[in-house]
Amino acid sequence: MSTTILTDEAAQLAATVADVVATWQLPAAGRLVPDAEHFHDQWKVAEELGWTTILDDVDCTSFEGLAQAVELITAAAAVTRALAHAGAALPVRQTLVARALASQPIATGSIVVSAHSFGVWDPIASAFVGADGTTQSRAAQGPVDRDVAARPVHRADHPEDLGDQPDGVLGQFLLVEEIAGAAHGAIEQARAYVSSRVQFGRPLIKLPAVAQELGRLTIAQLQLDEAIAEFARRLHTGSPDRIRFAALAARALACDVASDVAAHTHQLHGALGLTADATLRHHTLLLWADRDEGLHHRSWGVQRLPTCEVDLWSLSQPEPAHPL
């Protein structure tokens, strides 16, 4: 099954991220993420290891630019997914996109956002990159709002057609990778719990209903991975309409899968999963937060949907190339 298409380099990068983050202390329950003791050290590590600058030279103002940069985008996706898989909420994804969009170089070390961050991390960002690529410095903003994942957020209305532009598509790509990574991490945690937790004289996973629920979640994850793989293929060779449709499809499924996985991994994890000590929350809170990111309109994306059968058939036709 084609899950995420990874080059060897991207796979190695993902393994490095996993190794590094495994030693990190994640934020305490209820605290704003950037207030955690180790947040700034961790951000520095991410910077030093080059995770936030991967897309600096990518031209994200055109689909041709994205097509030429598929390997770099794959690497950025691998980092984003691996961070979410480990439950780490850092502004890497947002900074990657903003830096790609910037027409002038930006000093490393900054948290940079753009409209594609949908206000998340805005309050502590030191720069904002506009749609035209210009960068404005940012002073720290007033009272800090937070999203479900305790990331700082500045709530504002966003243009509805943001996802139609190439930079918006790039933002969506990394967002669905983040959701897929967090979902995978949550399922693994739930599986570990039901494999070790003994009730009725045997591990819970031996109960058919429990095993099947896990199987169902695994299929949901595979479905999302397949949608993302198709999205990745189209970024390489697809026409703009087909890329936009793949972005919509992947996002729609990611929303579905995020809710499903968050709710049911908690179900399988028992009351223990609801505690501050449990690490499941790092994944599920991120899933809930990402699920709603930027989707403030009921009719989001409908203009990208097919209006007749012939369009449905051609838009749902998979991209044949498996370039990587």
Partner: protein
């Protein structure tokens, strides 16, 4: 898509445009039109993956997928050749000896003959390994005795594929073998089982001491279970597991009756369709590489069942805005809808296969 896939799609569309038929949901499980199947054969659109000397075109499963997808999209009357072309030919090519292949493959490739699948029995449904029909060796070949149920299309099939027990032992999976049986042979009794729509689709097939020549044993005696498992990837992994209701969805889109709220509900549906078409392509690619992607096929079948049910839920509130043709498609689709969670293996069993892999 390759140029070849594209030209195959065009060829199917041309034939469907010329043919006089009413597009249907679940057309591959519906009534047979042998002439349509034969015309497909004449135009080189059947048995694409089979070797040339067995009537095929030595092409890839991706080429075949292009054809099957377009046929299902068009709701074309394909049931006459479906099982034979999908899994009997490939089984004979994979496991049968040359004599058996020569006897059946070219005729199947031209849709001159039709096969039905005799797997399920009164006591062997989801648990297929518990088949009781026996095949006993004699001096001239084999004698088959027993009973099969739910045998789709046995009333028009010329031959049956039969899974039978050839020895009894501790291991239920050992001692099973596969056979070809002539439906006209003495002792074969095909009795209709009328469906809940009043139609004749299913049959019960009784085998009363039916003589079968030795050459009609498929593959190796006692290896039936391993052989049938690889056959299931062909049976379960195809696009018919998620495109049976597609003609209805297509008709509703073309009816131009969707408002913005309806279109929002189309988001996940089209996403699921896209994923399944992509999965289908992966499965075809795996088959081309000589693998037997059993778990992928089970995943696709499970998701396909969910998508088909979701399509009905999507269409239901739009019906009052649609014409009689769409409503008729919908009614037929509703009645056909429980089939997809059962035939080829029940949906929860597909989930079990994936779950087992994961544990």
């Amino acid at each position: 898509m390759t140029t070849r896939e594209q030209s195959l799609r065009v060829a199917v569309r041309e034939l469907c445009a010329e043919w006089d038929y009413e597009p249907r949901c679940d057309a591959w499980g519906g009534s047979a039109d042998p002439e349509f199947s034969r015309e497909l054969g004449r135009r080189g659109l059947l048995a694409l993956t089979w070797p040339k000397d067995l009537g095929g075109a030595a092409e890839s499963n991706l080429s075949r997928l292009a054809v099957t997808e377009e046929l299902l999209r068009a709701g074309a009357p394909v049931s006459y050749h479906w099982a034979g072309e999908r899994q009997i030919g490939p089984t004979l090519i994979r496991h049968g000896n040359r004599e058996l292949q020569d006897e059946f493959c070219s005729r199947l490739a031209r849709a001159e003959i039709s096969f039905a699948l005799g797997m399920s029995e009164p006591d062997a449904g989801s648990d297929l390994a518990s088949v009781r029909t026996t095949a006993t060796r004699t001096d001239e070949g084999w004698v088959i005795h027993g009973r099969k149920v739910w045998t789709s299309g046995a009333h028009f099939a010329d031959y049956l594929y039969v899974l039978a027990r050839t020895s009894k032992g501790e291991d239920r999976h050992a001692g099973l073998s596969e056979f070809v049986v002539d439906t006209a042979a003495p002792g074969v009794h095909v009795q209709p089982i009328i469906g809940m729509d009043g139609g004749h689709h299913f049959n019960e097939v009784v085998f009363d001491e039916v003589r079968v020549p030795d050459r009609w044993l498929i593959g190796t005696e006692g290896h039936g279970w391993q052989q049938v498992i690889s056959q299931l990837a062909f049976e379960r992994g195809g696009p018919e597991r998620f495109l049976s209701m597609y003609p209805l969805l297509g008709a509703v889109l073309d009816a131009d009756v969707l408002d913005d709220t309806d279109r929002a509900a189309l988001r996940v549906l089209t996403a699921q369709l896209t994923v399944l078409r992509s999965l289908s392509r992966d499965i075809a690619t795996a088959l081309d590489a000589g693998h037997s992607p059993v778990t992928q096929a089970a995943t696709s079948k499970y998701l396909g069942n969910r998508l088909e049910l979701a399509m009905l839920d999507f269409v239901r509130p739009l019906l009052s805005r649609c014409d009689g043709r769409v409503r008729a498609l919908f009614d037929a689709a509703v009645i056909a809808s429980p089939k997809s969670g059962l035939r080829g293996g029940a949906a929860p069993v597909m989930l079990s296969i994936v779950t087992k892999e994961m544990q």
